[in-house]
Amino acid sequence: MNNRVFFCYLLAMAGTTYLIRMLPLVLCKKKVQNRFVRSFLYYVPYAVLGAMTFPAIFYSTGGLLSAAVGLAVALVLAYRECSLLTVAASACCAVYLTELIQRLLA
């Protein structure tokens, strides 16, 4: 692929992605008054998070078991309201250790 073709694809790709993100953020400047729409928008972030986390988290590591251990650690620490960094780093360590033990036992 020569550079000219690459940049054409890049422009189409980046341009489409940016317009989708930019237009609503620039055009929606007023506070929504309608109660239903406000409620809807209040719930959207949590709904998005739920859909993005499950079931994807189970396939985010080297295996189902280590992912389940990482998930459990994240749930407990998040329930205790630890910081984002603490929860993320602890889950990674839990996954690493689980997979290490699995390799040692195998």
Partner: protein, 239 residues
């Protein structure tokens, strides 16, 4: 009045776990791009101009196979349409001090994770906070891609797979605390997650792209909860 979070250093602090997660995801993207036949600088250019994992992973094969440009646009549109929903939602969180120019910049980095963290803050978010928030994830995303592309084997595989869970653990850390205090939030998370699992496991629904799945689950779950448990009138949205 609702309070505004507008502290640059707080933004940096909140951005760090995203940066950590991005390093590993971008690293994998870098390896993938080179394996598909792109050069390292091309992978870096894609990451720096798109900043979206699913879209980029889908876009590279379109390039490499030389498919028509309209297919690239269509693929990106379907996968990334969820960002329109997120941008509308984020627009309601922005402090009045966020100017038009700021919106153009912030929109560029309105990724799933940055959107999620900004939404998780109580009250409104200001421009300084947002600039702090987007800085390190952008650096992590670019650096990770480049490292993956030039030296895919410098990090042991065990570390790469362990880092894979970082972003999801962070998502959990964002929605669990409010779900603990508000049953409606818990309900919307469970409903949306349940539907997402149906899309993943039911053969009939597996053809739906991951981007579209997120939109459908989020829209349906949010509509249901907005109908049965509307938030209280004005100024108490974060009860």
């Amino acid at each position: 009045m609702t309070k505004t979070c507008n502290c640059f250093s707080q933004g940096i602090r909140d951005g760090l776990p995203i940066c950590l997660g991005y390093l590993s995801v971008a690293f994998a993207f870098g390896i993938f791009s080179v394996e598909e036949g792109l050069k390292a600088w091309q992978a870096l250019a894609i990451s720096m101009t798109n900043v979206t994992s699913a879209g980029q992973l889908a876009g590279v094969p379109v390039m490499v196979l030389g498919l028509p440009i309209y297919e690239m646009i269509l693929t990106q549109f379907v996968i990334n349409l969820r960002y329109a929903l997120m941008s509308i939602s984020l627009s309601q969180k922005l402090d009045p001090g966020v100017r038009l120019l700021d919106r153009f910049v912030i929109a560029f980095l309105n990724t799933d994770e940055i959107f999620a963290v900004a939404s998780g803050r109580e009250g409104m978010v200001g421009r300084r906070y947002l600039y702090g928030l987007i800085l390190t994830p952008f650096l992590g995303w670019s650096t990770g891609t480049f490292l993956g592309a030039i030296a895919g084997n410098i990090l042991p595989q065990a570390v790469v797979t362990a880092l894979g869970i970082a972003i999801y653990a962070m998502f959990i850390a964002i929605f669990i605390p409010p779900a603990k205090h508000n049953r409606a939030v818990l309900a919307v998370v469970l409903l949306s997650a349940g539907m997402s699992c149906l899309f993943h496991y039911l053969p009939l629904l597996q053809g739906v792209s991951s981007g579209l799945t997120i939109i459908l689950c989020a829209v349906i779950a949010s509509c249901v909860l907005a109908m049965i448990k509307p938030i209280p009138e004005e100024d108490s949205a974060h009860e």
